[in-house]
Structure formats: structure tokens, C-alpha cells
Subunit: 408 residues, 2 copies
């Protein structure tokens, strides 16, 4: 008997039948003797409907009032789920963020959990109640309702699992685990039984949107055992933990594609010290995240600096560079969004120098041209043309994961 | 400059345009220099929609979870109204029942307000914010959300007005005041400028559903000045207070009709002491309210007892009497719902014995037969056949309120 935190996303509670399905998963876990705390998102479209209502009245509504409005979504899904569990004859109570002791800072719409006062939840568990908690929300020091922003319900679940010292935090979603590549697009993509926090972080930041990075970071920090699994299939999912059994054997955990990026090239910069610092500190101040950076010597005592940014930041970067043109002394800027970033991730690759060359060889064999390269201890990323991205992913995946492949 | 509590019902906040209209009323009051606390109900059909969602999942859901679900309705309307006020450029904050310090007992779905901790509201008013508070809800000693049952938002508003020592509590609704009779049905019905708490209580309990009795009782107890007015017309409404200017002159304030009743007759009861006590204590234990009671001597040492109950209790009364037939020793029971109760209400009539006879004369002239009669200090009720009810109301109203009538 242990304590299990289970999180169910918006698609898992979208209608009455799906809520009943979630209630079944929760009560089956409970019947096996576990204590269960379930964290729920708002039903499917509820949040969008509420946002539309607000936009009709005030498109520039304060974030404080938006959080007041949006937090009702989880309150509805949680009370409905509790009713479904009541109908099955189990003891249950639903709790809002403030009732569950989720204390956050005051950054409305993007709040951070500061601490959890778990007394109420523990009291309910002591009397063997199932506890349903609204994800995505908390309360600040003024007793105002806050929401946690993107991936908030995952973060709520992991934070609760950490505070309650849960044995396991299960993230139920509409996919049945973490795959070696996007199974809808890559032939032969396989579900992973296990993956490390760091690998999961790299995959999440690369566009494999199974788990939000904030929640994985928190799980790593507090050593919360995660499992990603489907609320529909009933199959085991993927375990996310600090050390996986197969770490020595498997070099590469997955192949990810990110097409939501743009490549920025600043051409003809004066070759003087501090130029790179000026550019990237300017972007950092604007909260623009920069990935793959390449610096090359140009002609006539100049150099070029290229980097990638999220597609949403593209126009802002263009403006910023334009404003600083005289200070930065460059010739011109070239920005394209016809590129994709393809990455392989694996905790095992740090000790295997050959992995990078195998990746490049696969791309060469498939006739895919590489624009830029970036490596970290557990990741190798390359920039390719967007229209070659799917071919690139398949070629790399075949190289590392095909049954007849050379090494995994 | 004073403090005004304004309450807006579900029809007043039914859509974006109506919410903007409410925001205008609130901000106009604020611009005149007043502090404003506005209490809102849920939007038009929200509560019904939520009830339908719950019924689909669990028709016998616990009241605790129903309150958790239903309380979201006011949270939505209040945050939307705050956004509308923000758009007009005024400082505003919306507060849920628990944020506003509305402490109730634990009678989920029908909770009573125990006390109000007004610190947060007072702090917001001190910085000249408009405060929007969710009606109909509070929080019990376990920090669980409760709802106040029928008329709950009126009660929230009056309780807040009492706790904050407000100068006035305005109840905005879809009618523009209290009338001498239902203006949709009675020719010549006139709006009253003023009415006493007691008259309002009698009228409310008689089916003139402008204000719920709980809120009027509370207003009387804490001497809260009420005004009932329309959120659409912009006209002055009806003031409800302890003593009205015209009390000496006006005998009768209004004529009310209640068709939602049934008449129960228990025929052939043994003429022994304690029979009436047995019957009415039995009904009292079942929370069945009994009105007009008539006891008459029957034949052969028996007596008959007749009384009226709400239509919703009719079948339950039939069952209860059936179950106790042997203990009560009666011959048979006769229950009909083809009756209506017509009442006149007026604080002035206690000193005017002639009022009753004028009412009976009006009914006689109109050819309406009277089944039963009941009187209190400020009310005279008669039971008539339902199909003669409208004619009865018109005749009585003409008698007391026509410009050519004899005395008002």
C-alpha cells in the first residue's frame, strides 16, 4: 500500500463518459489498497470557452480576474469526477487549489508554487478518502486565486507528489508513453519503458510535448518517480526517473523534431571583442531564448553570428536588431523560418563519441543537408530544411532504432 | 458619500451586454462618490447547465460536491463583471464567498450565514476599489464551499449590507419594484414607493416573488434599508423599511395570489384531544409548511380538519396520512389542487376591522365563492377556486386601489 498521485489532462475528462473512465482508473488504484490523490485539468474546451467570454467583455482584462475566471474550469471537472466516484460507492472529496493548500507567488496567469500546506489532504487520506485536487491553480499570500500557466496541472501533480512523499506520480494523457520518435510520423517508433529526467527534459524542450519541462524539472529536483501513460489504453506507460536500468546499453532514447523555430543570421559584424555578449545579453533581457549558436569568420575583418529562436520571437528579434544596428555595426540580417531542428537525446551518448557521426552519416545517406550543429552531453541537434525534416527524422530513427540497426 | 450594496440577479447578468449594463449601474453609483459592493448571481442558465452536467454523471450526487460545482457560476459572472468595470477604467476586484469572509454553517445546498469577516472587503474599499462579491455562497468551518439555497444571493447582499453597516442595499431585478398586485395580470396595479418589512414578508410568502423571505427577515432584524428596483428601467424602485411615511393612511399595500398550493381535508376524525397536535407535529417533522387551517365539527362525534400546503408537498402529505390512518382514526382524506390563495397585505389593516368585510364584499360582488379564511395582523387570506383566482384578485384590487375606490 502506497500513495499514488494521478494527473488527468483536459482530453481525459472531456465529457461524462471520459470522467467515468477516469473515476474507474482512480477507484481501481484505490481498490488495490493505495491512497489516491488525483489532479485534474479543466474539461476539454472549458478554458477556451471562458477565454472567449472574457474576450467579448474585455480583451485586455487583468490577469488577476482572468485567473479568477479560468480557475472555475478545474473546479467543475473535479466536482464532476468526485460525483462519478460517489456513484461508484467510494469515499471521495474534491478540493480547490486553496483548499488543497497550494500556495503560489503572485504572478497571475503564470504563478509558481511556493509551498504546499498538505494538512487537509492528509486528513482526508487518513480517513481513506480519495482526494481530487484542481490542477493548474493555487492561491497567493493575499488569498487571491492564481493559475500556473502552461503545463500547470502537471506541475500541480508533481508538486503534490513531492509534498506528500508519494510513491509514484502518474501523468495520464492521450498518448501511452514516451516514444523514440513521434509515432504518428515515424515508422518503427517504439515506446520507451524508462527514460531519465534529463532525457525527458531534452525531449520536452525539443517539441515532444508529453510532459511540460517545469514538471519534469520539479520531479528531478524532488526525486519524484513519474510515469507517463494513457488514460484510455490500460497499458503500462513510460517511467521517468533519475537512473534507468538500461542506461549503459542504450545510447539514444529518442529522436525529436522542432519546426516551430526560426534561424537568425547577423552578417558582417565587426570582428571586435564583446559583440556576441552584446547580442545575447540584449536578447536575454527580452526573455528570448536562443538555441544553436554558430559563429564564423567572414571576409574583410568581419564575422557572422547565426542562432535559432522560437518562431514566436522571430519578429521581435528582427525589431531589436534593427533598433541596435548602429551600435552593433553589422552589414545585414537574414532571418528564415524554413528550417527545422532535429535532435537525438540519450543519457548514454556522452560516453559514445561515435553517436554524432552515426547521426550525420544517416542524414548524408538520406541526402539531407545539415545547416548548423549543436551538441550537449545528452543531445545532438542539427538544423535542416523544413521540407526535409520528416525524412531526416525517419533516417535517424532507422539508424538507431531499426531492428536491424547496428547498436541499440 | 456612503456605502451602497447592490445585488444583481441572474437575468441581470445573462449575457455580455447585460453585464456591461450592470457595470454601468455600479460605476455610476461609484462616480457619485459612493463606495460600492456588488453581489452577483450566476448568469442566466449557468446553474441549470451545471445541474444538467451533474445529473448526467450522478443524479444522487452529494450536496457537498453539488455546492463545489454550482459555486463556480457566480465566480464566472463576478470575474466577467469585474472585467467589464476594468474596461471602463475603474478600480475593481472580484471576490468569492470565502475571500469575502462569508462564513456559513455546514448545511450544504441550504446553508445559513453565521458571520461575515469583512476585513478584505473593507481593505479594498479603503483603497477606493469597487468590490464584486459572489452571491449565494460561503464557506463552512472546514473551509468547504457551501451554497445558501433559494434566494441566496439576496441574503448574501443583505448580510453584507448589515456587516458593513451599508447605508442602502439595492436589489436589482427584472421588475421595477413592488406592486399592489401582479402588474402583468391585474389592471390598475400600481408600484409602491415604500413598504414595511412585515408587509414585504407577507407578500413574498404569498407568491409575489420579488424578494426572498430570508433576505427580508434579515433586513428587518438588522434594520437594513432595502430598495427593490429594475436593472433596466433606471427608475426609482420600492423602498423596504421599518416604518413608512404613509402607514397611517394606507390600509392595504398589495394583493397577492398563490396558485402553487393544495388543500388537504381530513374528514371524520375522532373528536378527541390532541388530534390536531398529532397531525401538525407529524407534518412539522417532515418540514412541510402548513398554511390556512380550518377545523369544523362534523357529524356523529367526529370533526374535520382542513389546511393548505405547498403543491410540491401534496403527494408526501397524502402518503404520510395514509401511513398513519390507523393511528389518527379518520374516515377519509380529500386533497385538491384546484384552489388558489388570495391575500391582501397591509400594516395599516390591524386597526381597521372594516378591511376584511370590504374584501369579502368585493368577492361577493364578483361572484367568487370563499372556501376558507385566514387572518393575521397584517394579512387576510382566502381560499378560492383556481379558475376564479384572477377575477378575485382584480375585484379586490379594484376595491382597494381603484382611483374611484372608497378609501386608500
Amino acid at each position: 500500500m502506497g500513495l499514488i498521485v494521478q494527473k488527468f489532462g483536459g482530453s481525459s475528462v472531456a465529457d461524462a463518459d471520459k470522467i467515468r473512465n477516469v473515476a474507474r482508473i482512480i477507484t481501481e488504484t484505490y481498490r488495490r489498497g493505495h491512497n489516491v490523490v488525483a489532479v485534474l485539468s479543466a474539461q476539454g474546451d472549458t478554458t477556451d470557452d471562458l477565454i472567449a467570454k472574457a474576450a467579448e467583455i474585455n480583451p485586455k482584462a487583468s490577469k488577476r480576474e482572468m485567473d479568477m475566471l479560468l480557475s472555475t474550469g478545474e473546479q467543475i471537472s473535479c466536482s464532476l469526477c468526485a460525483m462519478a466516484i460517489e456513484a461508484m460507492g467510494y469515499p471521495v472529496v474534491s478540493l480547490t487549489g486553496w483548499q488543497a493548500g497550494m500556495k503560489t507567488n503572485s504572478a497571475y496567469s503564470n504563478a509558481r508554487i511556493k509551498r504546499i500546506g498538505p494538512e487537509r489532504i492528509l486528513a482526508e487520506l487518513d480517513r481513506r478518502s480519495i482526494v481530487i485536487v484542481t490542477g493548474f491553480q493555487g492561491v497567493n499570500k493575499y488569498d487571491d486565486i492564481t493559475t500556473l500557466g502552461r503545463g500547470g496541472s502537471d506541475t500541480s501533480a508533481v508538486a503534490l507528489a513531492a509534498a506528500l512523499h508519494a510513491d509514484l506520480c502518474q501523468i495520464y494523457t492521450d498518448v501511452d508513453g514516451v516514444y523514440t520518435a513521434d509515432p504518428r510520423r515515424v515508422k518503427g517508433a517504439r515506446k520507451l519503458d524508462e527514460i531519465t529526467y534529463d532525457e525527458m527534459l531534452e525531449l520536452a524542450s525539443l517539441g515532444a510535448q508529453v510532459l511540460h519541462n517545469r514538471s519534469v524539472e520539479m520531479a528531478k529536483r524532488y526525486n519524484v518517480n513519474l510515469e507517463v501513460l494513457s488514460s484510455f489504453s490500460g497499458q503500462p506507460g513510460t517511467k521517468v526517473k533519475e537512473v534507468t536500468k538500461n542506461m549503459e546499453k542504450v545510447y539514444v532514447s529518442g529522436v525529436a523534431k522542432d519546426t516551430d523555430i526560426a534561424r537568425v543570421a547577423i552578417i558582417g559584424l565587426a570582428d571586435e571583442p564583446g559583440i556576441a555578449f552584446k547580442i545575447f545579453s540584449m536578447l536575454g533581457k527580452e526573455n528570448i531564448n536562443v538555441d544553436i549558436i554558430l559563429q564564423s569568420i567572414g571576409r574583410d575583418q568581419t564575422k557572422d553570428i547565426s542562432f535559432t529562436v522560437g518562431h514566436g520571437d522571430m519578429e521581435r528579434v528582427r525589431e531589436l536588431l534593427e533598433e541596435r544596428k548602429s551600435a552593433l555595426h553589422y552589414d545585414h540580417v537574414d532571418i528564415v523560418d524554413t528550417v527545422a531542428k532535429i535532435s537525438i537525446v540519450g543519457a548514454g551518448m556522452v560516453n559514445n563519441a561515435g553517436v554524432a557521426s552515426q547521426m550525420f552519416e544517416a542524414l548524408y545517406s538520406a541526402g539531407v543537408n545539415i545547416n548548423m550543429i549543436s551538441t550537449s552531453e545528452i543531445k545532438i541537434s542539427v538544423l535542416v530544411n523544413k521540407n526535409e525534416a520528416d525524412r531526416a527524422v525517419q533516417a535517424i530513427h532507422d539508424r538507431f532504432f531499426s531492428q536491424f540497426g547496428s547498436h541499440n
